[in-house]
Chain length 230, copies 2
């Protein structure tokens, strides 16, 4: 097969995905739902991070979670154990969630009006970068155990993310992890990326993460109000 034909097929797939992502985004806006797309390597700690966050935030507003994995419903079960609704999407051989999967999974969640939808993507620092799901923004989780150079080696993912959460910060001293260098590398590929450090195991840094979410929610509401009054 010619590489021109491969490129055309890729364009068709991404074009269709972008249209469905725009539909999702319109639905989230109509429902006043703030959607975050969490991306990372396998094992960066997204589910542990989310389980803690949703159990600490669930009394403030409606929360729902969509979990993506090739196989198993382990992650959705871990979220449900906190009392928050979660839908598992299994991608089989697939390496990322797409907008169609999110549209269908969102239908299966209870109404989240005025609340937050967390989407946990398949653990993969490459492919999910190319797929808009209709989220307000992507949050990339990098754990201290992965090393400082990941933003340079997987630049697309860090370029499309608004926030980098550096997880497992409690292990940083054991690992000689260089935080300043990691942030410098991330800003080299995305000068505007925001950075927070936390530990999903100890809870360190979560208050700042929640403050960041509140700020995002206020910004989204202000944008939505000005769109209405315009």
């Amino acid at each position: 097969m010619s590489s021109d034909r491969i490129i055309q097929v890729e364009r068709d797939i991404l074009g269709k995905n972008d249209r469905l992502a725009a539909d999702n985004r319109a639905r989230f806006r109509a429902d006043d739902v703030l959607a975050f797309n969490l991306v990372s390597s396998p094992g960066a700690g997204k589910t542990t991070l989310l389980a803690r966050a949703v159990s600490e935030l669930k009394d403030n507003c409606p929360i729902g979670v969509i979990e993506g994995d090739q196989q198993t419903s382990n992650d959705a079960e871990r979220i449900r154990a906190t009392g928050v609704p979660a839908v598992q999407v299994n991608t089989g051989k697939g390496c990322h969630l797409d907008a169609a999967m999110i549209g269908e999974a969102y239908d299966r969640l209870p109404r989240l009006n005025g609340g937050i939808l967390f989407i946990e993507n398949v653990g993969n620092l490459v492919c999910p970068a190319a797929f808009d799901l209709g989220e307000a923004c992507k949050i990339v989780v990098l754990s201290t155990t992965e090393g400082e150079d990941k933003p340079l080696k997987y630049p697309n993912m860090f370029a499309v993310s608004s926030l980098m959460l550096i997880n497992k910060i409690d292990l940083a001293p054991v690992l000689d992890f260089d935080l300043a260098r990691t942030i410098e590398y991330a800003r080299r590929v995305n000068p505007k990326i925001e950075v927070l450090t936390l530990s999903a195991r100890t809870g360190e840094g979560f208050a700042a993460f929640y403050a960041w979410i509140r700020k995002r929610a206020e910004k989204a509401r202000a944008a939505s109000l000005s769109a209405v009054s315009a």
Copy 2:
């Protein structure tokens, strides 16, 4: 685009890759080169592991390394610093190495006759599972920091690998890592997978890894001799 058309395109891509992988495999056999395809999540420690292995093995036989990453030539430079030749392949937006890339990179290495070619794939537990590079076998590196459940959540990769190297075993006590459970999960998706534990940082477990490589080399040579005499 219809999903039938997507499936046909995937088949075309994989079919072409398989033909080129067979060419690579024939070249490796003709050169008496044992090729290993190392796969893992980003940050599992493949490069640190390889840098130690090649510097400890390089006096025994010719060794070459092909390094895959989306961006940077950091890894090839780390290998070259040990005195072993390395070629960097940058995949750009791509999420895996393919057989064509390996054929071209192999041409750029010095002759490795009677030796070992290590291929370090792009850090990705999903996509590289589908792409044969012509290797003798895939070695999946899982680090203790990633958690026990990865073989169940990313089963394809563990199903196609002959050996699972559990890296960062020195951190296991800090992490409450459950080794027996991890092995049980890996064998659930691949009953024949072999398992070794090691620490690329401390060197623990490397002697057993080298013994495993020697056994593989003897097996490959015996198979090749019996093919000649048949």
